[in-house]
């Protein structure tokens, strides 16, 4: 299980444009970091880099377990990292039940993961609907289901609350709090402050 994430001297560019250089960050179990910065500052790119979807120009991303041993990058990402991006990754033509089931199964789950997810985000009435019939907020809740349904230590969240209404923001805040209490780690790109105690890492703005 991932106990610490460390980024050292990280440099990332996108489409030939340097987003940030020499970024250092250390995130411990039970901690949350809120990434802030102007549009285009590189928040999403940083999250994608940590998830292994983007290759950094320079620098290192390391995952460590509780004893301080470095974990294999592929194994850590394939078993212990959740990435919830702008897009929900849901298939519009399939039912919510099938999509949530696939996401939980694919990412690895406990016996009761699916039921926990349904309960946590109030998905029961949505399960038999096709994803195309769901609103943006409902889709986001469905996508969030995998965070609970498939327990993984590091949550990489990109504007997770944006489409949610006040009620579900509070519910999600509660889930984040629980995740931190269970020694999870959260790295979230946000514009509004996170509703949980979190350090802030400001990527600045465009020059």
């Amino acid at each position: 299980m991932i106990h610490a994430l460390s980024l050292s001297d990280l440099t990332v560019s996108r489409g030939g444009r340097r987003l940030f250089t020499g970024l250092d960050l250390r995130l411990q179990a039970g901690e949350a970091v809120a990434l802030t910065g102007a549009n285009g500052a590189g928040k999403t790119s940083l999250l994608r880099t940590v998830a292994g979807l983007l290759r950094p120009d320079a620098g290192e991303i390391a995952f460590h377990d509780g004893d301080g041993n470095r974990l294999d990058d592929h194994l850590a990402r394939g078993r212990e990292v959740h990435f919830l991006g702008h897009q929900d990754g849901l298939k519009t033509g399939r039912t919510a039940r099938r999509e949530l089931g696939f996401q939980c199964d694919w990412l690895g789950h406990t016996q009761t993961g699916f039921d926990h997810a349904v309960e946590a985000f109030g998905l029961e009435p949505l399960l038999d609907l096709e994803v195309r019939r769901l609103s943006a907020g409902q889709r986001r809740r469905l996508a969030m289901g995998r965070l609970v349904g498939s327990p993984r230590a590091l949550w990489l969240l990109d504007e997770p609350m944006a489409p949610l209404d006040a009620r579900w923001r509070a519910v999600f805040a509660d889930q984040m709090r629980r995740h931190l209490e269970a020694d999870g780690l959260i790295l979230a790109a946000v514009h509004d402050p996170l509703p949980i105690p979190a350090r802030t890492l400001d990527l600045g703005g465009l020059a």
Partner: protein, 235 residues
């Protein structure tokens, strides 16, 4: 402080993850506007139009029946390739597939396998009908189906590679056709060759062996090159 061991997530296991993804892919292939039926319909239309274009005389038609059937098969196999990766890239599902237990190489192979089952298998069942309609002797119908089935695996694998290479390109469907059709030449040659040899009383085994060798080769290339292309499109 850390979680007790039995609260750790249970990974689905490699076989479990393979099954889960395969089921999803098959579901998507069949539910997304009936892609397999469309491919079979296209295949049947092509083989129905060709005799009209070339004249219905069996003496001109039957010597080339195997070749025409295989050409039509290759074209029909192109149809649903765009769906294979492009939709997953557009809706963000490809990111999800990239952080699962299975490496991307396996994801590409499983998607190709689903393509083979969903599209290659129905086409292989249509192939004997089409070939007979073009004037192939009835005794060769089982061989037409078998060779189309083996060839379908090759089409699915190289097709998956082409679909991965065309990711993110505008008019990707057309690009896939241009990238993939040249790679379809060997299976067309071997497949039509098998039918031709059998029609002239020789054993089709060598041609089928070449066809199978192509499939194995395509499997290795498609897995690695396809995964690299997907990573490139995500980055």
């Amino acid at each position: 402080m850390s979680r007790p061991v039995d609260a750790e997530p249970r990974p689905p296991g490699l076989r479990g993850a393979t099954r889960v993804l395969l089921e999803r892919e098959l579901d998507l292939a069949w539910s997304g506007g009936g892609g397999p039926l469309l491919a079979c319909g296209f295949f049947a239309c092509l083989t129905a139009v060709l005799p009209l274009a070339a004249g219905g005389d069996p003496r001109t038609l039957s010597p080339v029946a195997g070749g025409i059937a295989w050409l039509a098969l290759a074209l029909a196999s192109l149809l649903s390739l765009e769906r294979l990766f492009e939709r997953d890239l557009e809706d963000g599902a490809l990111d999800l597939l990239a952080i699962g237990h299975l490496p991307l190489e396996s994801v590409v192979l499983i998607k190709a396998l689903a393509q083979w089952i969903a599209v290659g298998l129905p086409l292989a069942l249509t192939a004997p009908v089409a070939a007979l309609a073009l004037g192939l002797p009835v005794s060769l119908a089982p061989l037409a189906a078998l060779s189309a089935l083996i060839g379908g695996a090759g089409f699915a694998l190289t097709g998956a590679l082409g679909a991965a290479l065309a990711l993110g390109a505008k008019r990707g469907g057309l690009l896939i056709a241009v990238v993939v059709l040249p790679l379809f030449i060997p299976p067309v040659v071997f497949g039509a060759g098998a039918l031709e040899r059998a029609a002239s009383g020789q054993s089709p085994a060598p041609a089928l062996a070449f066809l199978t060798a192509y499939v194995l080769f395509a499997g290795v290339i498609a897995a690695f090159a396809g995964a690299a292309a997907v990573r490139n499109a995500q980055g």
